[in-house]
């Protein structure tokens, strides 16, 4: 039902780190109503518990239940600013989309349960292997049920064509929740994806070519996320689309489910945690001080708040994937895993997308350093905020040069999963 192995612990650490960061961000956020803070933190802990369960579940029913826990709590957290119409719109779109995706996933789960007679993922794996070797199975039906389950998983990791909720929700939700959703929700979704597809469906992949389907989804996700981010003016929306494209990069590692690919996913998730949370923290700080969430609000930040501007530049360049920052290391490991499996077309699409992404990330850097704003007083931030910012900057700098401990940690975490 629920399994405690090193794989689950790895993801629980990532999710706990994201939750801790979100709590620290929420303390500093000026958006949240002090009256409902108790419920806010309670819901945040509930969604963390749901994500722990998502990372550890090995039964189809448990996977669905934990997914629903996380989804329902996320809907409420996204709509938490009840006086803001954008927040309510975000919650409404999230609910509608999430309900349809969860329903589709449940239909796929029921089909799979009917065909194999069990809900436990390990047993499904052996039953599918048996059924395919005996030949008394209709492959199209298994493919259909896997596709429906992929609908639910794809919604959680915001991959095309289930990504439509992501920009609106990220834009409307309170910024700490956006940061949390972009990192923790994606990590939990990938944990679920790896458990389902690696532990559950790998025995069926000789007869059904779902790896091609995953590769196409990955390529589309990267491309759509990047192209849609190009014209964005709102920084939250831009980071939402960039987050979608990073989901596509992560999915690249999961296409053929080799151990290198899965390791690359785990490593990139940790690096992505630091980069993305750091970027969102800067967005929170600027939104509190300047009151703006658009790129125009970042003008002249290089002179007004140099430490913040340099940190933001580090995060943005790391998100692009420029050496010697952590994002480059993560992308390199991912591409190495993809090229090793000879999926050259996917690697080329990934490279082209990284190049295109540079444009919209550098637009913010250009606004910060090369443009001036009318308001030229320098901004001051509390020492606590600066220390928290450094907590994200330092790993982004270090992991680009020395990522070996992370490599070993991910290899150990995957060890039990393979067996």
């Amino acid at each position: 039902m629920v399994r405690l192995d090193s794989f689950a612990v790895f993801f629980k650490i990532i999710i706990s780190a994201a939750t801790a960061a979100t709590i620290l961000f929420s303390v500093r956020s000026a958006e949240l109503d002090p009256e409902t803070k108790g419920e806010y933190y309670a819901l945040l802990l509930a969604v963390t518990l749901g994500m722990y369960l998502m990372a550890s579940s090995t039964h189809l029913l448990m996977i669905y239940l934990s997914l629903e826990t996380v989804s329902l709590t996320s809907y409420i957290l996204a709509g938490f600013l009840t006086h803001s119409p954008r927040s309510s719109e975000a919650a409404f779109k999230y609910i509608t989309f999430g309900a349809i995706s969860s329903g589709t996933m449940l239909f796929g789960i029921s089909l799979l349960f009917g065909m194999t007679g069990t809900g436990d993922i390990m047993l499904i794996s052996s039953r599918l292997g048996e059924m395919f070797s005996q030949g008394d199975v209709y492959p199209l039906a298994v493919l259909l049920s896997i596709t429906f389950i992929l609908a639910g998983v794809g919604y959680k990791i915001a991959s095309v064509p289930f990504h439509m909720w992501s920009p609106d929700v990220y834009e409307g939700a309170p910024i700490p929740i956006t940061a949390f959703l972009s990192v923790a929700s994606k990590s939990a979704g990938f944990a679920m994806f790896i458990r389902l597809f690696y532990s559950g469906f790998k025995s069926a992949d000789a007869s059904i070519d779902w790896s091609l389907m995953l590769a196409v989804v990955s390529a589309l996700t990267m491309t759509v996320g990047n192209l849609a981010a190009l014209p964005q003016q709102n920084v939250k929306r831009l980071l939402a689309y960039s987050s979608i494209s990073h989901g596509g990069f992560l999915l690249m590692g999961g296409v053929l489910l080799t151990s290198e690919g899965l390791q690359a996913i785990l490593i990139y998730l940790v690096i992505y945690l630091f980069m993305n949370l750091g970027a969102f923290f800067v967005v929170i700080l600027i939104a509190n001080e300047v009151g703006s969430e658009t790129i125009d609000g970042y003008r002249g930040l290089g002179s007004r708040a140099p430490l913040i501007a340099v940190s933001m530049a580090i995060f943005l360049f790391s998100l692009t994937g420029l050496p010697p920052l952590a994002g480059f290391a993560g992308k390199w490991i991912l591409f190495a895993a993809v090229i090793k499996e000879k999926l050259y077309w996917l690697a080329i699409i990934g490279l082209l997308n990284s190049v295109v992404a540079l444009y919209y990330y550098v637009r913010i850097v250009k606004a910060m350093f090369l443009e001036t704003s009318d308001d030229t007083e320098s901004l001051s931030f509390s020492p606590g905020s600066l220390v928290l910012l450094l907590v994200f900057v330092v790993p982004t700098l270090l992991l680009g040069i020395y990522w070996n401990p992370l490599y070993e940690l991910s290899r150990v975490s995957l060890g039990k999963l393979m067996g």
Partner: protein, 162 residues
């Protein structure tokens, strides 16, 4: 005998479902849904799962459809008669028929396992809910708690109250 019962119930389920999708009156759609769901409870009875049939009638018929009709009543006063006006129904019908075309051969070829009722009595379900299925049970109660808290947060806010 059970085949005849199944066919009668299936007619109600499919008829109800079709009526939900086809009718233009939202209230009629909700009531057709009720017919369909209570017929599903009948199927559960044919399969000797009395607890499930009871729960189906209670929760689906007694709670969900009621809430649906309340929601319609509270939000759609002026637009009762003509609300569903969907021009995409040919595409939807095509997709549904395609799904049927894939599912029917699969259920004819694959043996559907797990159809032997095991521990489906009231005591059996109660026992397994607290032993084999204890963790999903507790997680489900967490889901309910979260939904309750969320509903109160969203519904409570009024303009500028202190």
């Amino acid at each position: 005998m059970s085949v005849a019962l199944f066919i009668v119930l299936a007619v109600f389920i499919l008829g109800g479902g079709l009526a939900v999708v086809v009718t233009r009156n939202v209230v009629q759609a909700a009531l057709a849904l009720l017919v369909s769901l209570v017929a599903v409870a009948g199927i559960y009875l044919v399969l000797y799962a009395e607890f499930l049939a009871l729960v189906q009638v209670l929760i689906y018929g007694g709670a969900i459809v009621i809430v649906l009709i309340f929601a319609i009543m509270l939000t759609r006063n002026a637009e009762y008669p003509r609300t569903s006006d969907n021009r995409q129904w040919p595409l939807a019908a095509l997709a549904a028929l395609g799904l049927l075309g894939v599912l029917v051969p699969s259920f004819l070829i694959n043996a559907v396992r797990g159809t032997e009722p095991s521990n489906a009595s009231f005591t059996g379900i109660g026992e397994s809910l607290f032993t084999t299925w204890a963790v999903p049970f507790e997680v489900a109660s967490l889901v309910l708690l979260v939904a309750l808290i969320g509903a109160i947060i969203i519904a409570r806010s009024g303009p500028g109250e202190n």
